[in-house]
Symmetry: C2
Subunit: 455 residues, 2 copies
């Protein structure tokens, strides 16, 4: 097709065109290793997870069915904020003077401001269905906590959010929006759990950490019969729900007679990248499509590009299953970059396996390059991107500039996973020239990785 055939700025789908099943890539990744029980080191059983998850989600976590139907009750709510638009980046293309065709799927037009709502809704639904009265979770920057607060509200569930204390103090807006949607927000460490109390005893002014907040939320769920735990990334069922992004994108691209040559997503735990990429990766695995996939991570937390493929814990406190994944070690504390959603020591089992099998590439980018790309995007595409999402923008721009060199007219698709309205402090620092670059020194990383067992 001609490289600059006119397509609309935004492609939507009719309500009846919404995908009605999620895509489960477990069916197409034969080499996956099982999760291990942290105590017994044996493969995890459904029973091991029953204390904190409803059975439906446990079965999804372990299912090998290729397509899993979306329940009517979830479709009903999806329809109120989906499909998200597929946008053609005409403004950015013009700025870059590239023959590439750049598309992005914009997930920021919902009350949580990010793709997180795609999994929060089904998680709330399945918990409600299981007779659960309350959900407990942790949040760092606040996107996940906001999404779960919204979803809990929709199903009449209570929601308790353990918010990392330093964020609780620095981001009062995030706390307030969770309260608007009816959630109880505790600064973590809190006096509400044994974990929290023991830390506060030693350090009453503790700033907290995501590891502590996870421990508090899991403890809350495990010690209350009517309460379950919810996680916003990493796990299979979370990525399963996020495939709605890529499934919609496929239908939208079909409508305009397009198919991506390159699919790009930022990658922290992996649910955003998996969400946009896996439905297209299906075509590569099963139909031999030649699409490239690029998972983008911060140079400050280079799990795929520099981590080790090993069995490791999903959390600092060693309460989660042991997962085979690319990891920098479960006690790795990434530098304080302004992309809280990407500061995770590992990657989901699914993304890790796809990378290990050579199905996808990974690239690490620096913070100041990311913000430069974010501002180029904002000024041409009229959307202020979340710093996490801007990692994908940075690589989309790099790919488009390569096309300018080679003259190729590639079709580039990336996921713009959220807006940056709550990240303006970071933008201000960048504009004032105060934003630092972090790249983890290889010697230090290698020293860390030596301690991890080989797979």
């Amino acid at each position: 097709m001609s490289s600059k055939k006119h397509v609309p700025y935004r492609v939507y789908l009719g309500e009846k065109e919404l995908p009605e099943s999620w895509y489960n890539i477990r069916a197409d990744l034969p080499n996956l290793s099982p999760y291990l029980n942290p105590a017994t080191k044996k493969p995890v059983t459904p029973d091991d997870m029953k204390a904190i998850f409803p059975l439906d989600l446990i079965m999804q976590e372990m299912s090998d069915e290729r397509y899993i139907p979306i329940p009517d009750e979830v479709m009903e709510i999806y329809r109120s904020f989906r499909p998200s638009p597929l946008c053609r980046a005409y403004g950015l293309e013009k700025l870059l003077d590239t023959p590439a065709r750049i598309y992005y799927k914009y997930e920021g037009n919902n009350p949580s401001g990010s793709h997180k709502l795609n999994t929060a809704v089904p998680q709330a639904y399945y918990n409600k269905k299981a007779g659960i009265r309350r959900l407990a979770t942790e949040t760092g920057a606040g996107q996940w906590g906001t999404a779960l607060a919204v979803a809990a509200q929709m199903f009449g569930l209570e929601c308790t959010v353990y918010m990392v204390n330093v964020s609780y103090r620095q981001k009062p807006y995030r706390k307030a929006i969770m309260e608007v949607y009816g959630a109880k927000v505790h600064p973590s460490p809190s006096p509400h759990t044994n974990t929290g109390r023991s830390i506060l005893e030693r350090d009453p002014d503790s700033l907290g950490s995501l590891g502590i907040a996870i421990s508090e939320a899991v403890e809350d769920a495990a010690t209350h019969e009517d309460t379950n735990y919810s996680l916003g990334s990493v796990l299979n069922h979370v990525i399963l729900h996020q495939t709605i992004i890529g499934l919609e994108a496929k239908k939208q691209m079909e409508k305009i007679d397009e198919y991506p040559d390159v699919v790009i997503g930022c990658c922290g735990g992996g649910s955003n990248f998996g969400g946009i990429a896996f439905p297209f990766l299906h075509d590569k695995i099963r139909e031999g499509k030649k699409t490239e996939f690029i998972a983008v991570e911060p140079a400050a937390c280079p799990t795929l590009t520099k981590g080790k493929f090993a069995y490791d814990f999903g959390d600092v406190a060693k309460m989660t299953p042991i997962i085979e994944m690319y990891t920098l070690g479960h006690d790795f504390i990434p530098p304080g970059i302004h992309a809280g959603g990407l500061r995770y020591h590992g990657d989901s089992a699914l993304v890790s396996r796809a990378y290990r099998d050579g199905l996808i590439e990974a690239r690490a980018v620096r913070q100041t390059d990311v913000f430069k790309a974010a501002i180029q995007f904002a000024r041409t595409e009229l959307i202020l991107p979340a710093p996490e999402s801007a990692h994908a923008i940075k690589v989309a721009i790099d790919e488009a500039l390569k096309c300018r060199e080679t003259g190729e007219s590639k079709c580039i698709l990336f996921c713009l996973s959220g807006h940056g309205n709550f990240d303006l402090t970071a933008y201000e620092e960048y504009i004032a020239g105060k934003l630092a670059d972090y790249e983890y020194p290889d010697e230090l990383l290698n020293e860390r990785l030596k301690c991890l067992p080989d797979v």
Copy 2:
């Protein structure tokens, strides 16, 4: 039609279905009085406005053509963020248990976060076309300044924003987002103008006011050949541009075989209300439709419901034309409610005339009732509304509850003019029970109004 026939949650328009002209209600309001020159008290001439506005906008301000074509260059940009969705409020209807059908037009899904971008884009375009290099404006809460910064960026214009000092300090996010889009933001009063310098001399810590900021922006424009002034509401050409909202809504409702019985908009200067209402008001004036129109204002600033229809200045500093309008007096300082966009002492000439002629109604509502409605809406419709927009929600809810009493199945349409992501401090105060109600005492108001000349 059946009261609960299924319609989609959101109705869009194809790119080719976008309206291609704005609707100019001046053609259908025969009793309009001219603006007067503040110095001569004679009707304003195009020449009087040339120092700060481009000729195209001056002609639009005075035109009596019913439809004014939208230039291709503006359409091109409109297509990147329009049409805005028309949403069916199923969640809110269910909460209220009402037979009414509630629709809202959501204008918050663009980078300025509000309807203000609809006029910022053509204003930037016409100024660019006239050879202007820079735009100067004022902003209070920051929505208008953000919109103009975005639009100026699109046309390669510089943009200088005089931001009321107290907001500049309290809302660093708003300042930052304007800078992301390339604007220069000065706290007002500033040392950059005579007005600013003279105030700073007397009071170096002045918190500023919208009146001072307007004076600085107008002075900046009037004293620089290459610079013009832009205003975000009140004037005819601003409301003209905003009619894109109602024109789209008409097409969207046609698609689902609906027509509103009631149209509701919040009303400060009047551009949001006029934008949603006037295209439907056209049908009432020219085709005898029976639709009701309700302009909603804060009880703290009850211009239509308690003001006087008189010739008055548009600004505190008496630099603007004298306009026949409902006013509380140009030196009226409304209480500090959390709806900065509605704290204006008067109303546009067009809204005022329509009200005077009995074509529309007005209603004043209290701040705490507004926030109660906002939270009901957020929890059922999954969008956090701007406090200004929540004034319209409050009255839409009242109307829907009336339908529950009477059993009528009215079709209610309101404009959700923006999101509340930058207003979370106000929500937090409401949730904490700290938000005050203000109602201006009638005795004080009447005392004020005595000083205004009769028309």
